[in-house]
């Protein structure tokens, strides 16, 4: 295996970008074991896609800790939302949602914690919008501001086409997402029990074709993917045996016709792993 130092990692990411004809690839890493940090276009803004759901989850736990919500409380499952652009009504098409279980509960209720799981593990858009509608984007933004995270901006739920057409999107940088996932290790953020529960949800992620795909077996990854037609992202904590985890975010932007962009993210993740363990 080639020794991967910082310069080599920069070159490797550029090679992956050029070979896949990506418009951009950003990667940011923070190693909790050594305190070492690496950044490749780490402050470039991207459409956050579903990585924004990580911010919603952490806001839920923060609110629960503050006593403003209870994770066991029940919320009406209703597929009807208002656009932030023009207040028009939109809903989440069942066939465009990676998770069908929440759709089956329409008309009834689910516990907040029951919504949190599919929002992360199967990237349920309906669960996300329900939770965000209840918590409000302003509350998420307040949580981020209180945690001094400047690289994640949440203004709306998912599938808000009217807002998308007006350029009103959730945004993230790789550095911002790394800061977000580092909150899972921050005792100042929420209690250890709450962080453990949030970590458990991220560890239950079912989409494993990116950050974890090329890592050695036995590696656990607590993460959240994000994909729209022109962006493919993954961010989270990589837990290697016998050492503290590292936080990594890999964000990409590409043509809608790009072939298997997830593989490129997986290759960047592997390169980051080699850098961290070199």
């Amino acid at each position: 295996m080639r020794m991967m130092d910082e310069a080599a990692l920069q070159v490797r990411i550029e090679e992956i970008r050029e070979s896949g004809r990506f418009h951009a690839i950003a990667a940011h890493v923070y190693d909790d074991e050594t305190g070492r940090e690496f950044s490749h276009a780490g402050d470039r803004w991207f459409h956050a896609a579903s990585t924004m759901k990580a911010a919603v989850l952490l806001t839920l736990f923060k609110a629960a800790e503050a006593g403003t919500v209870r994770l066991e409380d029940r919320l009406h499952v209703r597929n009807r939302f208002r656009s932030i652009a023009d207040r028009s009504i939109f809903n989440i098409a069942r066939d465009r949602d990676a998770d069908a279980a929440v759709h089956r509960r329409i008309g009834r209720s689910m516990k907040l914690i029951e919504l949190a799981y599919p929002m992360i593990t199967r990237s349920s858009n309906l669960a996300t919008n329900l939770l965000l509608d209840y918590l409000t984007p302003a509350a998420v933004q307040e949580t981020l501001a209180a945690a001094r995270i400047e690289g994640v901006k949440i203004v709306r739920g998912v599938e808000d086409t009217a807002a998308f057409e007006q350029g009103l999107n959730n945004l993230a940088t790789a550095r911002g997402l790394v800061q977000l996932f580092r909150l899972l290790r921050d005792p100042q953020f929420v209690s250890e029990a709450a962080r453990r529960q949030a970590l458990e949800i991220f560890l239950a992620q079912e989409f494993k074709s990116m950050i974890p795909a090329l890592l050695p077996s036995g590696t656990e990854v607590a993460h959240k993917t994000g994909e729209i037609s022109t962006c493919t992202h993954d961010a989270g904590l990589v837990l290697l045996p016998g050492r503290r985890p590292y936080a990594v975010a890999i964000l990409t932007e590409h043509d809608a016709e790009a072939e298997a962009p997830q593989k490129a993210v997986a290759r960047v993740s592997r390169a980051v792993y080699e850098f961290i363990t070199a």
Binding site: R74, R78, N91, G107, S109, L112, Y134
Partner: protein
Amino acid sequence: MKIVDGLQLSAAHRELLRPGEMVETAAGEWHILPRYFYEIDSWEHAKQTPLTPHFTLSELITVDCREADLLLRSFPHYVPCAVSILARYLEEFRQRVEAPVYIAVNGGYRSPAHRLSVHPNPHLWATAVNLYRIGDTWLDSQKNIERYVRIAEAMGEEIYVRPYGYAPGETDDHLHLDLGYLLCTPRGYTESQ
């Protein structure tokens, strides 16, 4: 079921339920909020209290965490007495459609303190219901909603059914029917303040 005068409830409950208070709707109409309530000791009590052969009290009082904490988390719960009249109309509707009807969460009684009660509407009188499904038909399309609007309207002049649509006062993901701002004062109870 035990009947209570809302004006005799604790200050905390009166503040949330606002019994006998005059309120203004979004349309600028003024109406008096219900004063007499059934008292419900427990969730089990609500589930085991049939209002009609096919509807229990619990189905008409299920709310989510947008309800005020005191009313959501502690018993007794209170529901306006008109709920039993609403249940009779629901039973008739069920007979007409010849299928089970499903009441949405927050779709029966909700208090004036509920976060969805920004503008007073008949849900606060326990005289309105939102149905999200009838038999195997989900009420989330114009065709499905309008089919049942016609059946509900045929029950009588006193029934109001919201039309399909996206504007305020219209519905696009459920069937709303109500009896207006009906107050129910049981025999033996006074309307005097």
